[in-house]
Point group: D2
Chain length 371, copies 4
């Protein structure tokens, strides 16, 4: 099956390239009667948009979405919703310097190896530009989850290089805190340092990696399927499907490698004794090292994931590589690139978490009912 | 869609519980003409088997597979292959002490929350016993990958607690090295220490976490799909679908968080200049921080993944928990459990990697041909 | 995707051949809490069983199902249900006379063309023996549909050769009427004639075609999806997936070819004025030429389908054919075959209708709720 | 899973309504390197277009397709292809006379029953307008099938009312013959009569049903999957997914009901002795009552299907119906409608057959190779 579709019941199919006419998604399975307009899509698109601040790429795209179907009189009809975002900043130029060379860290070589040729005007289908429509689809999922269950999904930058934000209660971080600075880190002091580091990277014609943390609160217990479609598995796939993600963990994550069972197991407690508000469930855990999923099924505790995002591969330094025939050459990836991907990564990761949760909400309720 | 099926073209569907009659898988999509018998399944089942050594659970299961369909005159026919592994060690006992209590770290609570009740005789469907048939299906995938492309998939224990194996060239580790000791660590000195640590855990009625590393060599460049079904995404899902996995990374993994683009990008080089043998491709990278996948598509370099596995939740220590009504109580998970999951985790993770690669081999060749 | 799985949310995966160890199905997605035991499966298996009467094949199979998973303390757990039916009547014999010849009307040639070789001991995977487990899965679907919505699914033989049963109100036909004679025709006078015709066919070493009609009553309005997964489309696929089905129609069917819109359109009427009881809906149609589906979505009126079933291909007459190399030869399909497929076709078709309806029930309720 | 996606490997997802901004499809899985432009899509769109002749609706739509992605330098890239066809003839008018009434034969009532409300400006998602993008997707499939295997797919009007075309060799009918008259019937004498009958229907404010026959030539033997995804099953679903189709048959179809095995079975013969050209296979049948599929797998003989299409439900006669509350009222469906659906049905049915065959080509070759 081709790989441009995600989800079973809340199902997103996408198309589009960085330098083509635009990007499209078809969101299928949205329940009827949800109030929806382009205004619901724009805020997250603005958070993902290039050119939004000095720490992102200076390339400008308006990213105006058009809803082509599935909404009537301001409400979803239950039929498939198509969203089109036209590309605007398609500078026409001479690509002869790069069309036969492989940019390090990019998919140029692997696309050629797969398909025999590629759209060499940029990343083509491998460009992060395809995430525009993911973010639009995610905005629908977020709205659905919030209306049905009061679920909030908030992501933030946890780390840039060696700079680690101090976040004691991930589930209490608010969108307002995240958006209070351009690097999307809710630790204001660390945010200042991160911004400075990113600006330094740009000056040094380099880039820097980082980690994002994404949290979903008020997810009811019981979502996710045993065995293959564990909630952690589908969330893991969703995060790894985003460009530049090299690692994913939830809860204590890689910290469990050195842990013992006697201290790693969270204790079940009456919800009334828990410091974490868990929605409707009457049982909670103390603490939440399990990251909100046990046996791959939601426990009612906040779902907490972290993603490792590599430094932008495109850097304006002359570097060795090979051409299509395998002969050594050099390349410099000029152009306007993000010196750190993290600030714009956050809305993408939130969108993917929202899509997975909306899908599993419908899947759970299809089989087990809405109680 | 229910969650007991994995893969698109090489497709595995499973059923079975820890204390029911047995576990079954149906493997669909296997090309016709592959020589296959139960003898191809037994070696990996023996590596996964409980009771295999002093560092695993002492529970005994023979795990004899029966092929019920899809093989005729010693070859696969192209139709669906059903494999049945009956459960043998189903000790009948009184479950009244645990049926209404939630074991910490287990899926007891989340299953009850999802389905309204559960098979309380053990983990039921959440038990790692379901992985027997995954390992059987994985053995078919491994054989197919090896016959078609000479692909080898080898996993090993990289870390137990603070003990880290010293492995300089993951792609050169052999199955023989891995199987040379009972902890499945190809660093013999560290293997000794790991075994001692695991035995200490059993004496202390505790358990310990660890990390496994899984490597696939000779994967041709071009496998994997852009966007959602990136090879890293499907591999990530596969690993997270295994019990106890809390984190997954590939290549440099979480190490990219502190890296700069100028040093993180691997350099493309002619394959003849690479120290790593890459099968048929004439282009390689130096080094392999990208872990064999760029843009989610295989690069021809070895695919290297690491999984964080939590310490066994079942430990024979009295611990606080709650009952089904949310009232505090205590529980001790007696029985015969693995003090460390890693030695038996390795064949499970290899199986899942093999299933993903077999699926993507067929997917790639369906669209792009076999060249 | 391989073709041994059917359904999205109520999902059936099967394996098994006519002369192998047995047939297996895994039924995934069944809601938890449904009372279920092998006794729920046996009645329909007995209706499908070979050797049940003088008008069917005299081959004997006990068709005893074993439930391997997914049921605990007499109730479905919500996890995947595996059912195994072992083959018993596997006469070992010399196949050299048929292994290299193609039986007319069978899949011998097409399987060889597809896979390069085939299980020549019988139909292998193309044998109608694979429908045993479909019937078992259908029995679960029937029970679910009846418990949730009071839906009844009843099929019967409408025609054998030129003999057409006189059925004025398909939705009023009962299982008891159908089972009152061995040919499964609720018109007793015509049933006698059909039985005589089928016996004549056996004497003449020939076989005869026929038509089955399958009716589902009390299906709520609103099931089915617009566009591709119309209820009529999935029901059509389900029926065509059964061996020997050459045509499918619903409602007025091929009768619409000569009809005018002014008389073909059913009139909407208040349900209170309708002679057909339609469950909970307050709107009905008069008459029901549309066969219970409009725009591919159930209307609340009875769903009525008809299938054309070809005469058994296996007849004990010497006939010309070719061998694997394309050279002319002759073949006679000896053995014990049904002189008319219809009596045993009915439970198969009911099962497929039930599986489709159970799947669309869950799909509809997942998106639109249970109201 | 929502129902706006069709196919596994050649996969079409659609969105759009009759009175919204437009219709979109995303075609995923197309092999790379296929020459493609909008000029490949336009001929079949023109054949489906409203307003094309006096026997179709007089509504005018230009149906200009825009390819938004997946094509670079005139060739498919292997990534998802999005096609947008904007609606032009969206007359704004007062819908108060119809928004609360149910048009007989339409999906107004069933959409309301499913979703709780509907887009009342026309058929919305149930309008045949959604088939524009199916036809565009089908044009890609046709081109792929022809380039790879020389497959031709030709449909024609077989019957309108009582008027039956005389076609002795369906596989020899050419596109030119079909397009030589406006009713798309390759029997010129009967075509004249059909045109006269359809004009009479328009004058009488009525509509008439008919049957279309669709033929695929040069399909290699071996396509289709055993059991559920038989080629006949997927083709049957495809045809039933089209609006107004009430019956589908292939080969001898419903004619088998009265047939005996001794005469119904086709005889296998060396291809050199067959009057039908069958591409590369060296085995043919005489005659072709089996319609090109045995055991649901292509035999190499022409695939021949027939669809029963009901008379247009929309007729400008005042007729009784009910309103949303179930109260009796009357309605006349004014507007510009086809007095017979058949002439425009043909390209839709060809498109669906092409999509199914392209999908099964890839599925077969994925598992069994291209030989």
């Amino acid at each position: 099956m081709p790989g441009n579709t995600f989800g079973q019941l809340f199902r997103v199919t996408t198309a589009g390239e960085s330098h083509g006419p635009g990007n499209v998604c078809i969101v299928d399975g949205v329940p009827p009667g949800l109030a929806l307009s382009v205004d619901d899509l724009k805020p997250d698109l603005a958070r993902r948009r290039p050119g939004q601040s000095k720490v992102t790429t200076q390339r400008q795209e308006a990213d105006d979405p058009e809803i082509l179907s599935g909404v009537f009189e301001g409400k979803t009809t239950g039929t498939s919703i198509a969203i089109l975002i036209r590309n605007q900043d398609q500078r026409s130029r001479d690509y002869s310097d790069i069309k036969d060379k492989y940019r390090p860290g990019h998919a140029d070589y692997t696309f050629d190896a797969k398909y025999g040729f590629r759209d060499y005007r940029g990343g083509g289908r491998s460009s992060a530009r395809e995430t525009t429509v993911r973010v639009a689809a995610g905005a629908i999922a977020k709205k659905l989850l919030h209306e049905r269950h009061g679920i909030n999904i908030v992501g933030y930058v946890k780390q840039v290089g060696e700079l680690v934000a101090d976040i004691t209660a991930p589930e209490l971080v608010t969108l307002e805190q995240v958006e209070s600075n351009i690097v999307r880190c809710p630790d204001p002091a660390m945010a200042e340092k991160m911004i400075a580091l990113i600006e330094q990277m740009r000056r040094e014609r380099d880039s820097i990696g980082g980690a994002g943390e994404i949290v979903a609160s008020h997810v009811p217990p019981g979502w996710g399927e045993p065995v293959f479609d564990k909630l952690k598995a589908d969330l893991g796939k969703a995060m790894f499907s985003l460009p530049a993600v090299m690692g994913v963990e939830y809860g204590a994550g890689f910290g469990v490698v050195t842990a013992r069972g006697s201290t790693n197991n969270d204790t079940f407690v009456p919800a009334s004794q828990s410091e974490v508000k868990t929605g409707s469930a009457n049982i909670a855990t103390d603490p939440n090292r399990h990251g909100g999923m046990l046996g791959g099924i939601s426990s009612g505790m906040p779902i907490i994931m972290r993603c490792a995002v590599k430094p932008t591969s495109s850097i304006p330094q002359e570097k060795p590589t090979v051409d299509r025939d395998g002969y050594p050459t050099t390349i410099a990836t000029m152009g306007r690139h993000d010196p750190c991907l993290l600030p714009r990564f956050i809305p993408m990761a939130e969108a993917m978490m929202a899509i997975v949760l909306a899908d599993h909400m419908l899947r759970h309720e299809a089989q087990c009912g809405t109680k």
